[in-house]
């Protein structure tokens, strides 16, 4: 009787996740250091994960990258994958990478682990934002990666993200800040998911 071929037996994560977890790429090595042009950190330990990206950028192209994370296997693997994907990429393009893209490159993540992989791209964007700010180009890429969540009032994921950054922590506060869901209310499910996700990331 063998159950080693059953899906339930397979390692909790895909072989690609396993590889990136056991041999993560571009991890910051404190002994070697890393000269970088920008740095971004997001996450909070209360929720169990935190992520930091360091970028070396030349002519708006990411030439090298290092990262650190306090997080689970999913967080480590997805950040490792992200760090590989963005090498050689224009910062404008890198700015629009979504957690779903990374999860796909990893061969998928378990449903309840998706939220562990949402920090990498946010840390990356934070680093790019810092880079742009330092060069007087603040906000240059804003609006390039927005998704409309509330069609009635044209409220986007970025509006929700901003509201959370400004202090919204629950649905009432989000509604007070954005008026989201006050017309048809059809967006509430998705909006609450995003709220939860952003509170996890920025709500320290």
């Amino acid at each position: 009787m063998s159950d080693t071929n059953d899906a339930a037996f397979q390692w909790l994560y895909s072989p690609i996740v396993k590889e990136h977890f056991t041999n993560p790429k571009n991890v910051f090595d404190p002994d070697q250091g890393f000269e970088h042009d920008a740095e971004g950190i997001v996450g909070n330990i209360k929720c169990g994960d935190q992520m930091m990206f360091m970028l070396r950028i030349k002519d708006d192209v990411i030439v090298d990258v290092r990262w650190k994370t306090y997080g689970c296997a999913s967080a480590i693997a997805s950040t490792s994958m992200l760090s590989e994907v963005i090498k050689g990429m224009n910062i404008r393009e890198a700015y629009t990478i979504k957690p779903a893209d990374i999860a796909k490159s990893l061969g998928g993540l378990p449903e309840n682990k998706i939220h562990c992989s949402v920090l990498g791209d946010k840390a990356l964007r934070a680093a790019i934002d810092t880079y742009l700010e330092k060069r007087g180009r603040a906000g240059e890429f804003k609006g390039e990666d927005v998704v409309v969540i509330c069609n009635c009032l044209n409220i986007t994921d970025k509006d929700i993200e901003q509201a959370v950054k400004d202090g919204a922590r629950n649905w009432d506060q989000l509604q007070a800040a954005t008026k989201i869901g006050t017309v048809c209310g059809g967006c509430k499910g998705r909006a609450e998911e995003l709220l939860h996700e952003y509170v996890h990331i920025f709500g320290s």
């Binding site: 909790l12 396993k18 977890f21 056991t22 993560p24 991890v27 910051f28 090595d29 404190p30 950190i41 996450g43 330990i45 209360k46 929720c47 169990g48 994960d49 935190q50 992520m51 930091m52 650190k68 994370t69 306090y70 997080g71 689970c72 296997a73 999913s74 967080a75 480590i76 309840n112 682990k113 939220h115 562990c116 996890h200």
Partner: protein, 406 residues
């Protein structure tokens, strides 16, 4: 050392021991319904009765009649809380039973089946108090005294005090004798979940003076799906599962002959081996603790230093995240559990560790090593070889310093 398989998750469940497995397989020949009046039925019932005596002896029951077989710990705990619901509920604005006793006192570190049963009573309007614990995981007896005194606390006189004998995560053992004495003096019933304690430390329901005690068979090297509830003679109990007249009408359902037989044998062996088990495991555990403290910097051992289960050691590795540690150990063949939120499917880390006040970082970075009967010195040496580099690797890539928060 060569790669080996090291199971250190005995508090989650234990392997079925060979003697028990063999006895159960033999018993599968006995197919008669133990409730049947004919000879085959009576033979089957005799086996149930023998098993009941062994389970009674394991926990110091005065008579085997004080043991009710159930499907496991969760059912036993639910049966007690459901009985309290019936004792304390109101009908047409009047208490069903005499006296207005409705208050339930339990702790913040109970197993989810007690916590959720208590929350359900709270939802039904019962006053429910969750006692906090100190940094070592012990309840403060003076907190209990205050909560039992209607003049000094809310909720009126207490109906039930439910405190686990020993905690599954950090292993801390409560002073059940003192807790039961106070509760009895205040006229309350006393329940203890002894699922993790039985077989590991001396358990004596009669000496402690508790009214109810919960047991599970699969934690003592017996099969899953069978457990028991000790009900002190004279203590009220009402069926959770209604039907036939099995178990004196307290628990309906055709007898699980093989499960019960396996439980009886597992209990008999556990009782006989308990003193040796305790001294051997405590030695192994303490040597492991000392070696981890010597080989990994900045760690915190959670739970009580001495009033702790002999097989359980919960350690926080600040700077490293628990699920990543668990899966790294898993890749080396070492099986443990963690209090990290990432392993629980929620965003909340271990409620037990949080109740001890260690803070989220230490809770997320915690690993529970629970050893058992089959754990060897070689197993411990293997874990001691694999663990330090794993912690070092994860800490090196961490954004969080490995220092311990005050």
């Amino acid at each position: 050392m060569d790669k080996r398989f090291v199971y250190m998750d005995y508090n989650a469940t234990t392997p079925l021991r060979e003697e028990v497995k063999a006895a159960m397989i033999e018993d599968f020949e006995v197919y008669a319904n133990a409730s049947s009046m004919h000879e085959a039925g009576r033979r089957a019932y005799a086996r149930v009765d023998r098993a009941r005596s062994h389970v009674a002896s394991l926990i110091g029951a005065k008579t085997p009649a004080e043991i009710v077989f159930t499907s496991g710990g969760s059912e036993s705990n639910n049966t007690v809380f459901n009985t309290m619901y019936d004792l304390g509920r109101q009908e047409n604005g009047k208490f069903v039973t005499k006296g207005p006793r409705r208050k339930i006192i339990t702790t913040a570190i109970e197993h989810p089946c007690v916590l959720n049963s208590a929350h359900r009573l709270a939802d039904e309007g019962f006053p429910v108090v969750f006692l906090g614990v100190d940094d070592l995981g012990r309840i403060d007896i003076s907190d209990l005294e205050r909560e039992l005194d209607p003049a000094r606390s809310e909720g009126g006189p207490t109906l039930l005090v439910s405190v686990m004998t020993a905690n599954n995560e950090i292993g801390t053992i409560q002073d059940m004798e003192a807790i039961a004495a106070l509760a009895k003096a205040a006229g309350a019933y006393v329940h203890t979940d002894a699922v993790q304690a039985a077989g590991k430390i001396h358990v004596d329901a009669s000496a402690w003076g508790v009214d109810y005690l919960t047991l599970s068979c699969h934690k003592i090297y017996g099969p899953k799906g069978i457990g028991a509830l000790y009900v002190r003679k004279g203590a009220p109990i009402l069926p959770l599962i209604r039907g036939g007249h099995q178990e004196a009408g307290i628990r309906a359902g055709t007898y699980n002959n093989q499960g019960i037989l396996g439980f009886g044998l597992a209990a008999e062996l556990a009782l006989r081996e308990q003193p040796d088990y305790e001294s051997r495991l405590r030695g192994l555990r303490n040597r492991f603790r000392d070696a981890v403290l010597a080989s990994v910097p900045d760690v915190r051992v959670n739970g009580h230093p001495t009033k702790v289960l002999p097989n359980t050691i919960d350690i926080s590795f600040p700077g490293a995240e628990g699920e990543a540690i668990l899966l790294s150990l898993d890749l080396e063949g070492i099986e443990v559990s963690t209090g990290s939120a990432c392993a629980s499917g929620s965003l909340e880390p271990s409620h037990v560790l949080m109740a001890t006040g260690v803070g989220p970082q230490l809770a997320h970075g915690s690993i529970r090593f629970s050893m058992g009967k089959y754990t060897t010195e070689e197993d411990v040496a293997y874990v001691l070889e694999k663990l330090p580099p794993i912690i070092k690797r994860l800490r090196r890539m961490s954004t969080v310093p490995s220092t311990i928060e005050a």
